[in-house]
Amino acid sequence: DQQVKQNSPSLSVQEGRISILNCDYTNSMFDYFLWYKKYPAEGPTFLISISSIKDKNEDGRFTVFLNKSAKHLSLHIVPSQPGDSAVYFCAASSRETSGSRLTFGEGTQLTVNP
């Protein structure tokens, strides 16, 4: 039962354009969402998060949008840079029922072409 799904295994964009990575979830108890970035042979690194009481959180070039009714979140990167090329994982948590445990999606490989 895949509770967090990233339906696009890969995404390719041109440098300077917007990258939009999508994530869907099924568990309505999830109330905290995070995005992690992973380079090859490294561990995932935290990028940005959003609580279910918000619908948008912005940090520099990165913005996460949350649509609770659709159980959907997205990560926008603008402008995209070649250094953004990595695998991006969406993760979710239900602080009431599962505490600190994160459930991850399968990941989306982003390639930003110069």
Binding site: P44, S49, F89, G99, R101, L102, F104, E106, G107
Partner: protein, 114 residues
């Protein structure tokens, strides 16, 4: 060190062998997690410690998997009688908080069972 350190980075084991994977979390971090990441998949939760207490081990796939954190710092994940399906990257993460927040991941230990 400044980050989460895991050893060994790479481990090749023959089927049936026991392996031990070590994690040195960031100094002072209360929470410690182990995740398993199969090829092409996102990390999957194995177990969670708060200090020396193992609060959640619901993700451990079988009783061949055992984790400990006896002094609330270094943790060891032990896999007994390894099987081919145990081949994966084992990620350790730590956090300074007791509630959901940013996790700091190590680079992982890649286990290959022949």
């Amino acid at each position: 060190g400044a980050g989460v350190s895991q050893s060994p980075r790479y481990k090749v084991a023959k089927r049936g062998q026991d392996v031990a994977l070590r994690c040195d979390p960031i100094s002072g971090h209360v929470s410690l997690f182990w995740y398993q990441q199969a090829l092409g998949q996102g990390p999957e939760f194995l177990t969670y410690f708060q200090n020396e207490a193992q609060l959640d081990k619901s993700g451990l796939p079988s009783d061949r998997f055992f984790a400990e954190r006896p002094e609330g710092s270094v943790s060891t994940l032990k896999i007994q009688r390894t099987q081919q399906e145990d081949s994966a990257v084992y990620l350790c993460a730590s956090s300074s908080t007791r509630v959901t927040g940013e996790l700091f991941f190590g680079e992982g230990s890649r286990l290959t069972v022949l």
